[in-house]
């Protein structure tokens, strides 16, 4: 199977930059998988887990991301995450901290649109909390 260049960057560092065959991305409109020769796509992300399959069918590398963008173009896939943490370093406590931050964010949010967005964020985090642990 063909592989394609994949990059995962957070504002603080470049986490992954390698050729992979399959990546599952938590898009805001639903999860989607990216294989080589995917049509150009730009999507926002919801808080969730990115799964990176170096070769299809192998054990995936899992990373928690909190919001950001995925950019699929003929040169490969780039994920710009607001925050990205490898799952090995991630635990319930970190998630709880994220939920708490989101709650604060919601209470501080001004304006309808921002509030709705913050609420959505919070709900997704809570869902993840219920599902993962």
């Amino acid at each position: 199977m063909d592989s394609f260049p994949f990059e995962l960057v957070s504002p603080e560092k470049l986490l992954i930059s390698e050729d992979v065959e399959h990546v599952v991305v938590p898009g805001s409109e639903g999860e989607f998988g990216v294989l080589a020769h995917h049509a150009p796509l730009m999507s926002t992300l919801k808080p969730g887990v990115v799964k990176v399959y170096k070769t299809d069918g192998s054990e995936p590398k899992r990373l928690f991301v909190r919001g950001g963008f995925a950019d699929v173009n003929p040169k490969g896939l780039t994920i710009l995450a607001d925050e990205a943490i490898p799952m090995e370093e991630f635990d319930a406590a970190r998630l709880d901290a994220a939920i708490k931050a989101a709650e604060e964010h919601l209470s501080e949010a001004k304006g309808e649109a921002l509030k709705r967005k913050a609420e959505l964020d919070l709900n997704q985090l809570r869902e993840l909390r219920a599902a993962a642990f």
Binding site: E7, V9, S10, P11, E12, K13, L14, G27, S28, E29, A39, P40, L41, M42, S43, T44, F69, D71, N73, P74, K75, T78, L80, D82, E83, K110, G111
Partner: protein, 293 residues
């Protein structure tokens, strides 16, 4: 002429100062390495972001209803100057060169009849600019308590700027910081952050005629991406500034240490001469005393 005791005291005090400057130089060198690494680690994100934004914005910029963060408010009257400096001095010309650039920019704007307001990040810039533009200084954000600059620090600052923009308090925001080139060279830089300055589209032929799909819509993505871009630019500015500050301090302290060394050498020479002159004088007194008998 200074007595021997005075000279001894002078030498001791210069030596003590030299020890301090030497220590500061070494601390700055260690911090510089860390700051440089942080700045380098943040670069990939900023680059990718620029690419994504360029590619999105090229199609949106002139469309009616483009987000105001991209198209601007349509006016160019009220300016916000975000001046980033250090919280501490003793860094050579670091703080004053940034303040100078901001001051020139502000004077030019005032001469053109525009309104300005200044937001200072870091105390030192505020100290300088407060005197020259009384009443224009909006607020000072001190980073003294911040141990290491992370994205949270930057998004806090950018959120403040964005909120004022949403409330319609300014039309254009410009950020002043020092770009880190090397230990001996940092360039004060002005960068417009609101409305966003979009670099020329580099992805023109990349898609080979294919059309992007957007999830959700193009507008919504852009709406999300633009504030983030401001935060990222601020983040970049802060990190570059932190590296520049340490670089400037390191070379300033290196100079100070060397100057102290020169001074000690000169003072020791004077000290030795005076001491010998005194011995000679005493000898002459003894000998002429003996001859007189």
């Amino acid at each position: 002429m200074a007595s021997l005791k005075d000279l001894r005291n002078r030498i001791a005090s210069v030596k003590a100062t030299q020890k301090i400057t030497k220590a500061m130089q070494m601390v700055a060198a260690a911090k510089l390495r860390r700051a440089e690494m942080a700045a380098a680690a943040a670069r990939p994100y900023a680059e990718r972001m620029e690419r994504v934004l360029a590619n999105l914005a090229s199609s949106m910029k002139d469309a009616p209803g483009a987000p105001r963060l991209l198209a601007g408010t349509g006016e160019d009257k009220r300016h916000l100057l975000v001046v980033m400096t250090a919280d501490r001095g003793l860094a050579g010309g670091f703080n004053s060169s940034i303040a100078r650039l901001a001051r020139e920019h502000a004077r030019k704007l005032i001469a053109e009849g525009k309104e300005i307001r200044i937001l200072c990040v870091g105390r030192k810039g505020a100290d300088i600019l407060r005197r020259q533009f009384p009443g224009k200084l909006d607020d000072i954000i001190s980073l003294r308590e911040v141990k290491s600059i992370n994205f949270g620090t930057a998004s806090g600052i950018s959120e403040r700027v964005l909120e004022e923009f949403r409330e319609g308090k300014f039309d254009v925001a410009t950020m002043f910081y020092s770009k880190f080139k090397s230990v001996v060279s940092q360039t004060p830089t002005a960068q417009q952050i609101v409305p966003a300055e979009i670099p020329a589209d580099q992805t023109g032929d990349l898609l080979e005629g294919a059309v992007y799909e957007y999830e959700p819509s193009e507008e919504e993505i852009l709406e999300d991406l633009l504030p983030k871009n401001v935060a990222i630019q601020v983040f970049k500015g802060l990190l570059e500034n932190a590296a520049s500050e340490q670089g400037a301090r390191m070379s300033a302290m290196d100079n100070a240490t060397r100057n102290a060394g020169d001074m000690i050498k000169k003072l020791s020479l004077v000290y030795n001469r005076t001491r010998q002159a005194q011995i000679t004088k005493e000898l002459i007194e003894i000998i002429s005393g003996a001859e007189a008998l």
